[in-house]
């Protein structure tokens, strides 16, 4: 599998990750999938709902709110997803996956990421060190959910 970006789209993602440091950022990747590859044609930055612990807890509770916040957790508001999905469907675009950042942590998926992942989607992860976006990687959940497989992330 591979996911292909236009340079300016990937730049937007990196800028979002840097801007939201030291919090985790998140957003949607839209475009077309054909068999073995995904072509991203648009990225939509979204709000990390963990900034609103009350509502986030209602939707997807964390075990320990004192240690799990927007600094090390992200949650996308399903209402935002619904809005973006509706709008993109009308324009013939599909949701290909999501991106999020790991402030001061490597661009590798955590167990928490895996437990919450869905099959098929691409999960793009950025490491951010001192407000600067560093590595960008992309991952797809294996069919048995046991691990993430890294996929090629390319520029077109």
């Amino acid at each position: 599998m591979a996911i292909n970006f236009r340079p300016e789209e990937l730049e937007n993602v990196r800028a979002h990750a840097a801007r939201d440091y030291p919090s985790e950022c998140c957003g949607i990747l839209l475009g077309h999938a054909d068999g073995e590859s995904k072509e991203v044609s648009e990225v939509v930055p979204l709000r990390n709902l963990r900034h609103d612990p009350g509502r986030a807890q209602e939707l997807l509770p964390v075990e320990d709110p004192s240690r799990e916040s927007e600094r090390n957790r992200f949650l996308i508001d399903p209402q935002d997803q619904l809005r973006v999905e509706k709008d993109s469907r009308q324009r013939g675009l599909d949701v290909l996956g999501y991106y999020h950042s790991h402030p001061d942590h490597p661009a590798r998926p955590s167990n928490y990421d895996r437990e919450h992942a869905w099959p098929w989607y691409s999960y793009v992860i950025l490491s951010v060190e001192r407000a600067e976006a560093k590595d960008v990687t992309s991952w797809v959940l294996s069919n048995d959910r046991s691990r993430f497989e890294q996929e090629d992330l390319k520029m077109r």
Partner: protein, 99 residues
């Protein structure tokens, strides 16, 4: 009464690539039961072993989250649209957030 159920991209591999399915149902629960009896492989992605909707799955009727309506008892009418919205969450290992 037919309602439309919108299928998110990761689950279309279980619905023969369909992005939406029409189901005869009077409630959200009936619609999801109809959907998973038609496409059996969908079941484990939507329901847990006790047969309840998984907490990672959000279901909307038009623009309303069924958590804040009558959950699976939420009535649906002709031309309503049920959307399955996967929960998207993540993060890295727990650490002390002292600052």
């Amino acid at each position: 009464m037919a309602v439309k159920v919108v299928i998110p991209t990761p689950l279309r591999q279980y619905t023969g690539k369909k992005d939406s399915v029409e189901i005869d149902a009077r409630t959200v629960g009936e619609a999801l039961a109809g959907l998973t009896s038609q496409f059996g492989d969908l079941r484990k992605h939507l329901f847990n072993e006790e047969g309840n909707l998984r907490s990672f799955v959000n279901v909307y009727v038009n623009d309303e989250d069924i958590r804040f309506l009558q959950k699976s008892q939420t009535p649906v009418n002709e031309n309503d649209v049920i959307s399955i919205v996967p929960s998207i969450a993540g993060g890295f290992s727990i650490r002390c957030i002292c600052t």
